[in-house]
């Protein structure tokens, strides 16, 4: 059972790491625009669309 002395702190540390990551993402505003991210994934890496001046759908 002495393995617990290592395993429990490791488990807690990993958990806290996850929590810290969550708090960081919340503070940096990643939860402010939940719909935008789903759309941004469709962007091309190259900025090709920026030149055209199409009229957007209304």
């Amino acid at each position: 059972m002495s393995i617990l002395i290592y395993l429990i702190p490791i488990a807690l540390f990993l958990g806290l790491l996850g929590l810290a990551a969550f708090i960081w993402s919340l503070k940096s505003g990643q939860y402010d625009d939940l719909d935008g991210a789903a759309q941004r994934i469709l962007f091309d890496e190259e900025k090709t669309l920026t030149q055209d001046h199409d009229i957007p759908h209304s």
Binding site: M1, I8, G15, L19, Y31, R40, K47, H53, I55
Partner: protein, 741 residues
């Protein structure tokens, strides 16, 4: 503030920057703020953004500009933030770039955006996150604790695991339980209780009892249950908050129409001024197709206004000098000049917003069924627990620890699990069932409120009827073709109706002129053609008709008439009939003229109707009915209905309603039928019945379990089985909603 000096500066800069485009509109530099790093930043609302390509286009075009440091569009809030180095006046050019792409930009007023609700949402998410991570970690330990006994793992190990659980759970409950504790304290301070009081108490008791057990080396601790309860309750709380936040967006949407600029004429020059800064006696120029920014009086020009936003009337009203116009109405045909009679904050539109806010506040008084149950439940349970403690201590001769243990068991076994589930499970199932039928429920307790109504207020245009005039009968195709070719040049509702009923190819039309209040004139195939009123180009000797009409005159030939009506929805009469059968009283409240309202009321069999009502009058009718003790369902689709939609006991809007009304309503129904109003009412009644059965079941369970707990016979295992059993029964009963037709 020297704004005019700044504007001149802006013009100067745009030419310095080598922009050869058409005139750049100034005014945005007044909204620019400085960041601590000395950069300029501006936030604007962009409308017309629907997909990824829009984000790409806007952000991409801006980031090609030299000084831009950041351009970011929030897709959820449609808010664009631009940061750049250089001078504030560059903002005008950036806005111009976006407008050139075809989007509409509105100045963003941070006062309107409720920063408050954003903070609240972050707080809930943070609590939820912390509870989630704590739950994951405690479960790791609990698997070990619940699958073996103390003898197998060794007592020292068990105590270690208990201690670690305590170290995770106690801070978590103190941190993540705050939404419940706060609400409970607030309720108690107000001298009543709500569902959060028993929840808070259960959390505090479960953790303090577990802590007591941990310190005394006891066998079972319940830190895991306490943290899990917190986590699940927080999920529900967060989802509920999001739904309500969307509903609240209503008021700010309306204000959007007042956040733009107005063209003020001063000393013969046009200057752009923020609408909120307009003051009395200023002259404002309003182009065709523009909204009137404030209330005022026409001083120059004759045009037609679409007042449907404010009065709900279908047909435009002709305006001439000295006529009053209201903020939010639309100038249809010719540019006019008005003089401001009231600043924006006192306009009729603002009055509607104020009424809505007022209504919103009075609505907060509604007490959910679950909270009403808690009001009965909490004192009873707490008295029982206190009696158990005193009884075992003085009559049963137990020591105080054992007596306290029994009293805590009483409190925990009546833990509001089943009671807490009774309402939400039914609501989730009912909402899902209605969603499949095209009815969207926006707030959790809307169904509960709907089940209690006895009066239905109905708007006429767009609710009982389809909301737009349609062409009657079958006019000759050739005449329709000519009329449609001409009508394509106008925004008048009757012109639109003609355009919609003609699907073929249009003829080339030259020299089109719109004569406000009269009609359209143009040249087709070398012949002058007129489309308009009877007095202007119609046959004055034709028998009068009570339908809406348009006349087409080609050259000097005999004019041809087109007739229009605003049709009732196909099932309006059936729906009214069904509502009456359910002993509800239907009443029409309309902004339209008396004889039209009367005709519609007669057609669908409604005895009571009010016509020619302004929005505040509509609101007054609802208030009076409420005062008489009636519970009201409002069904409406226009801005003029918005205050009543917000203030009524519960409200519904068709999917064709303006955004504003949809935001104000609790329930939205899709499709061209009115029957969903009745279907939703029926489902709400059924859901209410099931909720009451669930409460009965929960009470029955308590009648059996509480005496056992009082007698000290309940072991932790029995408590666990009894509690999950009661929850399962309640869930099973709720699922009957899916079976019952």
């Amino acid at each position: 503030m020297g704004r005019s000096a700044l504007s001149d500066n802006a013009q100067l800069h745009s030419s310095v920057n080598g922009n050869h485009d058409t005139q750049i509109l100034s005014g945005y530099e007044t909204l620019v703020e400085k960041t601590p790093e000395g950069l300029n930043t501006i936030s604007v609302l962009v409308s017309g953004v629907y997909c990824a390509a829009c984000i790409q286009k806007i952000e991409g075009s801006l980031s090609q500009e030299q000084d831009i440091i950041l351009a970011r569009l929030n897709f959820t809030t449609r808010r664009l933030t631009i940061t750049w180095s250089g001078v504030p006046e560059q903002s005008n050019r950036y806005i111009h770039i976006i407008e050139n792409l075809g989007y509409t930009v509105n100045p963003f007023d941070p006062q309107i955006w409720q920063e408050e609700s954003k903070v609240e949402e972050r707080f809930l998410l943070l609590c939820l996150g912390v509870a989630g991570f704590a739950m994951g970690n405690i479960m790791l330990l609990s698997v070990g604790l619940w699958t073996t006994t103390g003898e197998t793992m060794g007592l020292a190990t068990r105590e270690l695991l208990h201690l670690i659980s305590a170290a995770i759970a106690l801070p978590t409950i103190l941190f993540s339980g705050r939404p419940f504790f706060r609400s409970a304290i607030k309720a108690l301070k107000g001298g009543h209780t709500n569902m959060d009081v028993p929840i808070s108490l259960a959390l505090i008791l479960a953790s303090s009892m577990s802590l007591f057990e941990t310190i005394n080396g006891g066998e079972h601790v319940y830190f895991d249950s306490a943290v899990m309860l917190t986590f699940f309750l927080l999920i529900g709380r967060t989802l509920d908050f999001r739904a309500r936040k969307q509903a609240r967006a209503g008021a700010s949407d309306l204000l959007d129409t007042m956040t733009g600029f107005a063209n003020v004429i001063e000393d013969g020059k046009v200057r752009r001024v923020l609408i909120r800064d307009l003051h009395e006696n200023q002259y404002v120029r309003i182009a065709a197709g523009e909204n009137f920014p404030v209330d005022g009086q026409i001083i120059e020009g004759q045009s037609e206004v679409d007042t449907s936003l404010v009065t709900g009337e279908t047909l435009p009203r002709a305006i001439k000098p000295e006529d009053d116009v209201f903020a939010g109405t639309l100038n249809l045909s010719v540019p006019v000049t008005m003089v401001v009679s009231k600043p924006a904050k006192d306009s009729l539109l603002s009055e509607i917003v104020k009424l809505m806010e007022q209504a919103e506040q009075s609505k907060a008084i509604y007490v959910r069924l679950a909270d009403r149950a808690a009001r009965l439940y909490t004192p009873v349970v707490h008295t029982l627990a206190a009696l158990a403690f005193l009884g075992w201590l003085f009559i049963g001769d137990l020591d105080w620890q054992a007596a306290l243990m029994i009293s805590i068991t009483v409190l925990i076994i009546t833990c509001p699990c089943a009671l807490g589930l009774a309402v939400p499970v039914v609501q989730v199932l009912a909402t899902g069932k209605l969603m499949k039928n095209g009815v969207l429920i926006k707030s959790g307790d809307a169904l509960e409120r709907l089940a209690s109504i006895d009066t239905v207020l109905l708007d006429k245009t767009g609710t009982l009827t389809l909301g737009h005039p349609t062409l009657e009968g079958n006019p000759p195709q050739e005449a329709l073709r000519l009329a449609a070719s001409l009508a394509a040049h106008s925004r008048h509702p009757l012109s639109k109706a003609i355009s919609q009923s003609y699907a073929g190819v249009l003829l080339e039309t030259r020299q089109v002129q719109e004569h406000p209040g009269q009609g359209l004139e143009g040249v087709i195939d070398g012949k002058p053609v007129r489309l308009g009123s009877r007095a202007w180009c119609g046959d004055k000797n034709a028998p009068p008709s009570d339908m809406l009409e348009l006349w087409l005159r080609i050259d000097n030939q005999t004019p041809i008439a087109f007739f229009f009506t605003d049709h009732l929805r196909e099932d309006t009469c059936d729906c009214i009939e069904a509502l009456k059968k359910a002993s509800l009283t239907p009443i029409i409240v309309s902004g339209d003229r008396n004889h039209i309202t009367q005709k519609i009321a007669k057609e669908c069999g409604i005895e009571r109707f009010y016509s020619e009502q302004t929005p505040p009058q509509k609101f007054q009718i609802m208030e009076n009915l409420k005062r008489e003790g009636h519970k009201i369902l409002m069904v409406g689709d226009g801005l003029n209905d918005a205050p009543v939609l917000t203030g009524a006991t519960v409200s519904m809007a068709p999917g064709t309603a303006i955004d504003m009304a949809q935001n104000a309503a609790d329930i939205i129904f899709m499709g061209k039928k009115l029957m969903p109003v009745h279907t939703t009412y029926n489902t709400a009644r059924l859901a209410q019945k099931l909720v009451k059965q669930n409460f009965t079941l929960a009470v029955l369970y308590n009648i059996i379990a509480v005496p056992l707990a009082l007698s000290g016979l309940v072991t932790p295992l029995v408590a666990a089985i009894a509690m999950s059993g009661s929850s399962l029964i309640v869930i099973a009963n709720s699922f009957r909603l899916k079976v019952i037709k």
